[in-house]
């Protein structure tokens, strides 16, 4: 072990993982978060026949250019302007809060959703390096374990604010997130049964060889067994996606911050960058959730007729783009649902989670296992 720590392999590992981490967080996920917010505003505006943010460009006339730069639809500078505004606003800590936990909560809401991304294979290989930050053999368990830590951020925010609305929002949110974690856990089991591994890289590789779980014909004509297995996979996909909506507190499950009852829920007392961290955490969790759906059901970075990274660096880049393209489609789906469905009532939410999703997912596990055991 000591020889490993001092060897050049060690520094190669540190260097490549740092490069991958920084590429993933700062060049892909955070820009994606800001432009998801922008897309959310534009899409909702289009759905409600408004225009949405379409003015802010990039003020390059300050640098001596003749005109400001405002490409495509306009408003592309909006996320940057928002970020600057978050930094410049007053960072107000009200006197009635429990200070250490009040500061800790936004970090705890933000950090787990970034750390979760480490186990997700977002590409095949690029110049011979695996495009996954940490190739863990317990990938799914790692993701579920770390993402549940995010609940603490919300609980602490609600409790340390010492105020009624955040308190109620925090309690509701905890209860909702742990309830839907069961459905999430059970819906992933059929995938593990079929792929026979908890490593996300191996699950992706299985789908490269045998076709995406949700679209088995991507690797040639499926046999009778594959067609039979397709039924529980579709059920698992639906329950998994519904639970993911609940886990990320998106409509129709945004009870923790239902504006009409609780103002803003657990982050009512937060302002400035601390509020922005909750916001970032929520959208990063959305991206992590979509990535997990892509890896488990939609074939990860694989696309028919596109070779993997061993065919050259160009194809490595194409694989990465395919992966995030799939994620972007799912994000659009998240936004679409948000502006289509109304919010559940709390008793309906609990009933859906505990009575329907839980039971369907549990029976589905045995349906998959039965098909695997009793068909040839």
């Amino acid at each position: 072990m000591m020889s490993f720590l001092s060897s050049s392999d060690f520094w190669f590992l540190v260097g490549t993982s740092l490069a991958k981490t920084i590429f993933l967080i700062f060049l892909v996920v955070l820009p994606m978060v800001s432009y998801t917010v922008y897309a959310e505003r534009r899409v909702s505006a289009a759905m409600q026949d408004r225009s949405g943010p379409n003015r802010v460009g990039f003020p390059i006339s300050l640098l001596g250019f003749k005109k400001d730069f405002s490409p495509f639809l306009g408003g592309l500078g909006q996320p940057v302007a928002d970020a600057v505004k978050f930094l410049l606003k007053e960072d107000f800590v009200p006197g009635h809060v429990n200070k250490p936990y009040f500061w800790l909560a936004p970090c705890l809401a933000m950090i787990p959703s970034i750390v979760v991304l480490a186990a997700i294979p977002f590409g095949s290989t690029f110049l011979g390096v695996d495009m996954v930050v940490a190739n863990l053999n317990v990938g799914i368990l790692y993701i579920f374990a770390i993402s549940s830590v995010g609940v603490y951020g919300i609980v602490l925010a609600g409790w340390s604010s010492n105020s009624k609305y955040p308190f109620l929002g925090g309690i509701r949110s905890t209860s909702q997130m742990i309830s839907y974690e069961l459905g999430l856990g059970f819906s992933a089991v059929p995938v593990l049964l079929i792929a026979g591994s908890t490593s996300l890289t191996k699950i992706t590789q299985y789908q490269v060889d045998h076709g995406w779980l949700l679209l088995p014909f991507t690797a040639g004509m499926p046999g009778l067994r594959e067609i039979l297995l397709w039924i529980p996979v579709v059920i698992a996909f639906v329950t998994f996606t519904i639970c993911m909506f609940a886990e990320t507190n998106r409509l129709p499950f945004d009870l923790p911050e239902s504006e009409t009852e609780l103002v803003a829920g657990y982050h009512t007392e937060y302002s400035s960058m601390k509020f922005a961290l909750f916001f970032l955490g929520e959208y990063t969790a959305m991206i992590a959730g979509s990535s997990l759906i892509v890896v488990l059901f939609l074939g990860g970075w694989n696309f028919p007729f596109i070779p993997d990274g061993s065919a050259g660096w160009f194809w490595g880049l194409v694989n990465i783009s395919v992966f995030f393209g799939k994620v972007a489609v799912l994000l659009f789906f998240f936004i679409w649902v948000r502006w289509t469905l109304p919010r559940f009532r709390y008793d309906q939410l609990m009933k859906l989670g505990w009575l329907y999703i839980f039971e369907i997912a549990l029976v589905n596990v045995f349906l998959t296992a039965g098909i695997l055991a009793f068909t040839k």
Binding site: L88, E90, L136, Y165, L192, L355, V365
Partner: protein, 124 residues
């Protein structure tokens, strides 16, 4: 082991660094306004805060938390079973299917009991 989890550690450090840097920059750059008692009070739609700030809440939330722990452990038992399932089928036949079914049906009795007792009924 070190090889697998060192990148995770780096990712954690980068995430913590990002969160801390964002908060510190906002403290440095952000405006600071005057404080007054109204601004310092808990937000209740502009009214003066009334009653305890952390009111009593329904015992149902505790019941949900307990049931969660019970069934979450069930899921954790299911994962290793799922991973070895196909290899076991080839080697020893369908026995593995029936053993997990019997294990889950025992827990299902508990689930049915909780439902019958109304532990998951939020209407009342």
């Amino acid at each position: 082991m070190v090889k697998d989890y060192l990148p995770v550690l780096l990712q954690v450090l980068v995430a913590i660094g990002f969160a801390a840097a964002a908060l510190i920059v906002s403290v440095i750059l952000g405006k600071t306004g005057k404080r007054n008692p109204t601004k310092d009070s808990a937000y209740e739609c502009g009214m003066k805060p009334e009653g305890p700030s952390q009111p009593r809440f329904s015992v149902k939330f505790y019941v949900v938390a307990m049931l969660f722990i019970l069934f979450d452990i069930e899921i954790v038992f299911m994962y290793p079973w799922a991973v070895v399932y196909r290899e076991f089928l080839v080697a020893h036949g369908a026995q593995i299917f029936w053993s997990m079914l019997s294990f889950v049906s025992v827990l299902t009795v508990g689930y049915v009991y909780a439902v019958m007792k109304g532990a998951l009924d939020w209407k009342n």
